[in-house]
């Protein structure tokens, strides 16, 4: 519902500009909160130091926007580079490996709302947002099988476990989404 409301306000402003009627939303940022169901307005000023439209612009032509938007967090830990492919298993390989591994522990690092949609039998939920190997209750001797929705978040968790001394780690390549396609056709996709 939210995009409907916001898109209609956008349409209204376009039409007002064309008709040159009313007070256009220039210099004002309208904030809409669907949960509180309120609108707020804050002032937006032209910044004299703006690199594009300010007094001494440094952006005088189009730039490399991919590079401009690729900002790392300064001071943040750079994740360890590992050979990710060595830990990836296709859904069928992942299932076969678990079936043959008596010490297998299956960890789902998605968030709770995703867990409620579907999950792999036998999995334990440890959301990445609060994932900490030290308090996970996992034993570095365990064989830990990890999955998420598409396989990226579980790789992040895998790297943290590796750093914490875990040795037997596997990641479900393509996540539960690909699992639903290739292993469990009854599982819903979202």
């Amino acid at each position: 519902m939210l995009p409907g409301v916001v898109g209609l306000i956008q349409a209204t402003e376009v039409i007002k500009l064309i008709l040159d009627e009313g007070a256009p939303l220039i210099g004002r940022l309208l904030l809409y909160d669907a949960m509180k169901m309120n609108f707020k307005e804050v002032r937006v000023r032209k910044d004299p130091e703006c690199v594009l439209c300010g007094d001494n612009p440094s952006v005088t032509e189009l730039i490399d926007y991919k590079a401009f938007c690729d900002i790392p967090i300064p001071g943040a830990e750079v994740p360890e580079k590992i050979d990710e492919a060595a830990y990836e298993l296709s859904p069928q390989e992942f299932k076969d490996a678990m079936d043959q591994d008596p010490s297998a522990v299956l960890i789902d690092v998605r968030e709770n709302y995703e867990w409620e949609i579907c999950k792999i039998d036998g999995a334990q939920l440890l959301p990445l947002s609060s994932f900490d190997p030290a308090t996970s209750g996992l034993d570095p001797e365990d064989s830990v099988y990890l999955y998420c929705y598409k396989g990226k978040r579980s790789m992040q968790a895998l790297k943290e476990l590796k750093k914490a001394g875990f040795k037997n780690l596997k990641n479900l390549s393509g996540g539960i989404d690909l699992w639903a396609e290739e292993v469990d056709s009854d599982m819903p996709q979202y």
Binding site: P3, L29, L31, D33, M35, V42, R43, V44, R45, Y149
Partner: protein
């Protein structure tokens, strides 16, 4: 009565899912110190390593940008509202799934 800080949905998870937090202080800086002392996790999302408000976050004191007042030193009083507004880019209302 103190100063109400309105928390955007992108940062709610760091303040116990609240959409506003009431704290006291006499400047925006003091109010934010009170906020991060209570909710440490929100700090890295609000401030850069030099203690400056991050470039993609705007802070409005009673509907005007503090950049055009005295920045973090801007004075506040009880009953004021501080709105934190981060840059968002979505064209649809869901998070990208990874």
């Amino acid at each position: 009565m103190g100063v109400v800080i309105e928390i955007p949905s992108a940062l709610k998870q760091y303040v116990n899912d609240q959409d506003e937090v009431e704290v006291s202080g006499s400047s925006v800086e003091e109010v934010f110190e009170a906020l991060v002392s209570e909710y440490a996790e929100v700090k890295v999302n609000l401030f850069d390593e030099n203690g400056k408000i991050r470039n993609f976050i705007n802070v409005y004191l009673n509907d005007d940008d503090i950049r055009y007042a005295n920045g973090l030193k801007s004075k506040v009083q009880d009953g004021d509202t501080i709105q934190i507004v981060p840059s968002v880019a979505g064209g649809c209302s869901t998070e990208k799934n990874i």
